[in-house]
């Protein structure tokens, strides 16, 4: 964050529009699809603009490698991982410190919604592969995980969705992309389950006043509602059409 954007790029134009033409409260074009993989018990691909994340869920199952299982619930295992070709400069495939932190943060965004108590002594695996990174990879990951969990038939209290609010040239904007993240003043990823009224991921990188923070949080929750509605839509369409086909 910080520094000046490349010449000719205006983060917020005179018309109040962002470098890609969006208004401050506008999401990027979002694409969601479930059941995209054959082997996984559940899968989804989610795109926020050029950011593209593939999610797969396996489980509840017994893990290959021995590790201490939980006696009263399923353990959630989450891996957030970037493909080497997903970034400007090739990313080394070894897990970075950033990936380790984000795996934890994404797992903790899913813990409140998964009903893990139904499957003691098992593991539910959520594998996230960032295929292309253009800002918002963790938020797209949470959304993709939510869909893949649903697709896998894992019982959930609610769906979760995620978006990042940014502050760019003093303006709060929804769903920051890489350029806005890089040259903006703040980036605040939020995940929430609107049907539960719960925030399940909350991070802030950058500086916000007390008031800006409250506004940003409200903007995030509003956009997340939209995203979760899209999730419901996709799931409804997928399963209706499948059931229809089976009749």
């Amino acid at each position: 964050m910080g520094g000046k954007p490349p010449e000719g790029v205006r983060l917020i134009g005179e018309d109040g529009r962002r470098h890609d033409g969006r208004l401050p409260h506008e999401l990027r074009p979002i694409h969601m699809e479930v059941g995209v993989l054959n082997n996984a018990d559940g899968s989804a691909i989610v795109q926020y603009g050029r950011t593209r994340v593939l999610a797969a869920v396996y489980g509840p199952r017994e893990p290959h490698q021995k590790f201490p299982l939980l006696p009263d619930r399923a353990a959630l295992r989450v891996r957030y991982h970037m493909a080497p070709f997903s970034t400007e400069d090739r990313k080394s495939p070894a897990p970075s410190r950033r990936e380790i932190e984000l795996s934890k943060v994404v797992r903790e965004s899913l813990e409140p919604i998964v009903i893990a108590e139904e499957f003691p002594r098992t593991v539910i695996d959520v594998f996230l592969e960032v295929l292309q990174a253009d800002g918002g990879t963790r938020t797209a990951s949470v959304t993709a995980a939510s869909l893949a969990l649903a697709d896998a038939g894992i019982p959930m209290k609610a769906l979760v969705g995620s978006v990042a609010i940014g502050k760019v040239e003093g303006v709060l904007v929804v769903d920051v992309d890489e350029l806005e993240d890089m040259y903006g003043e703040a980036d605040m990823p939020v995940a929430a389950a609107p049907d539960l009224g719960e925030i399940t991921l909350l991070q802030l990188n950058g500086v916000l006043s007390r008031e800006e923070f409250s506004t940003a949080l409200e903007m995030a929750l509003e956009s997340i509602k939209t995203i979760v509605d899209m999730e419901k839509d996709v799931l409804r369409k997928t399963y209706t059409s499948v059931e229809g086909g089976e009749q």
């Binding site: 993989l37 050029r50 080497p84 997903s86």
Partner: protein, 276 residues
Amino acid sequence: MSITPFRTPIAPSLVKEAYLALLKKGWRPGDRDLKTPRNLKIETGIIEKAEGSALVKLGNTQVIAGVKADIGSPFRDTPDQGVLTVHAEFVPLASPMFEPGPPDENAIEVARVVDRSLREVGAVDLPSLAIIPGEKVWVVWVDLYVIDHDGNLFDASMLATMAALLTARLPAYEESESGEILLKRGTPGEPIKVNTWITTVTTAKIGGYVVVDPNLEEEAISDVRLVTALDSGGRIVGMQKTGMGGLTTRDVERMIEYSIEASKVYFKALEDSIKR
């Protein structure tokens, strides 16, 4: 350290019996005969930020190849050539059998067979990847990402690699006054020069039969596989026996014969994919 793997218990002997009975009639499940690869779709340019990319669907197997390029130093013994590296990851979302972690022997084998198939015949024109010979060259990475594993990762990986390379564009660049090379990522520059088109064809021996492009179940009941790398002229440019069984000379000859035939299907699909 290589250890005898667990045989996936997918295929008990009863299944194999039934399967062999079908093979005897010249057929495989899904109305496929022994010599025909599965349905093949190749989509290129699927990762806009990569220099080149392709998604290959071979039946239910899905592999992505991404090409990234950067400026680097040449190897000491080939100062006037660029550097090409192939790396494969079998990420755990692709199969219940894959675990997170560094590439295992299977992933390494796929990457190295693809790499050698390209390298030995000079498929990628490495000298043209030198920018300032002896000093600065293009370092090109091909990253293979298996995302759904239903058998025959060799052919899917090789096809994805070729399609990604054939459609790749190196980043444009400028030389600063001080001689530094400044990449303009996002602005496509020169393509990567490919001298020869290569494909591999994998055949499996099941009982006394040879089949082309085995799927996962067929791999599980097969005795052994042979990966044959071919150029479009039918020359053999690489080979790898893989799996636990043995082969007779006759098996090998038959496998090569089938492979040359099937390679035409693969080359045709490659050609179609890059036209689009």
